[in-house]
Symmetry: C2
Subunit: 196 residues, 2 copies
């Protein structure tokens, strides 16, 4: 496991965004000791709510969490591979809402890929969600099993940020790692109008 290098106590909010269940976890980091503050999920399963209403609820309830726990920094998981487009689109909306909840409270979220999160917590980028939960529980001394894996996932994101020393990480995409495709990915990002 990587060593944590924060020099002062740091309160980190980790978010595992979703449009159905959105996990959040808050930890206090002091040197190499991590302490659980709070964790849970925002459930949005009510079918009576429209999609914009659900987004609004993600925003309002995350904002409430931030106001209650007053984190110093906020970390989000990027969740865009291996899912179908419909899911990706819904998730991206929810991530937008989560990002705004942070920004509206003066927190600029840092992002980690699922692989970075898993590797930080379990030492293996392809670890299962159950393995992540197991390690999160071990690290933070949690004894109960939360009903949703999203809650421990969010804690894993917070732990990942702690283990990165609380500094914004360089996210390497597949394209960036593959060198040649990097320029193209960057070009697309900077000139989306050219590929319409």
């Amino acid at each position: 496991m990587a060593k944590a290098t924060p020099t002062r106590p740091l309160r980190i909010l980790g978010i595992d965004p979703g449009s159905v269940v959105c996990g959040f976890g808050v930890i206090d980091v002091n040197g190499t000791s991590n302490q659980l503050v709070e964790y849970g999920v925002i459930e949005l399963k009510r079918r009576t709510d429209s999609f914009p209403q659900r987004l609004n609820e993600v925003f309002l309830r995350l904002r409430a969490v931030i106001e209650r726990t007053q984190p110093d920094v906020c970390a989000l998981e990027t969740v865009f591979h291996g899912k179908n487009v419909l899911t990706i689109v819904r998730l991206a909306h929810a991530r937008g809402a989560a990002m705004l909840a942070c920004m509206q409270n003066g927190l600029e979220p840092v992002e980690y890929t699922p692989m970075q999160v898993k590797r930080s917590v379990t030492g293996r980028g392809a670890a299962s969600k159950e393995q992540v939960r197991h390690m999160v529980q071990a690290i933070l001394g949690i004894t109960e099993d939360h009903r949703y894996l999203d809650a421990t996932d969010a804690l894993a994101v917070a732990l990942c940020h702690a283990l990165h020393g609380g500094a914004p990480p360089p996210i390497k995409t597949k394209a960036q790692r593959k060198g040649k495709r990097a320029a193209w990915a960057e070009f697309i990002e900077q000139h989306p109008e050219k590929i319409r």
Copy 2:
């Protein structure tokens, strides 16, 4: 062109969301007469801003537009086909921010597909952006060419909502039209946890 059937003056805000340029257009609709109130774009091209900062700016500036123009209803374009995944993800974030700007002002956005918008304004679902601009200019008596097509696109969304009588439209996805795939698309939407 479909007949408009609103019975009282209605102020409609149309939004063409984007993470680089976000168009907005406000019109007043009274019976079959449509009058331009305001239109323009939110430019977000500054490379110095991070993505969350740009999202926040979409949110803040759209909220300012809503507070200034006080629309009765808000219409958004769904923009998710024929683009690559990176673009879709960015757009979906921006749409989430736009939706929240509406929701935070008590407006629940209604959604139209690009095809519905184009068909409403030009009579043809596959019309070009230039053709849409031409028709929007003709309908609203606009003489100047705006620098961005996104501005007239946003007005087209507002006009589309006006021509639908100001009522929330039934959005038909490809899957829904194809019948058999409808059940599956709906199932995925309602049970995203099953396909993880």
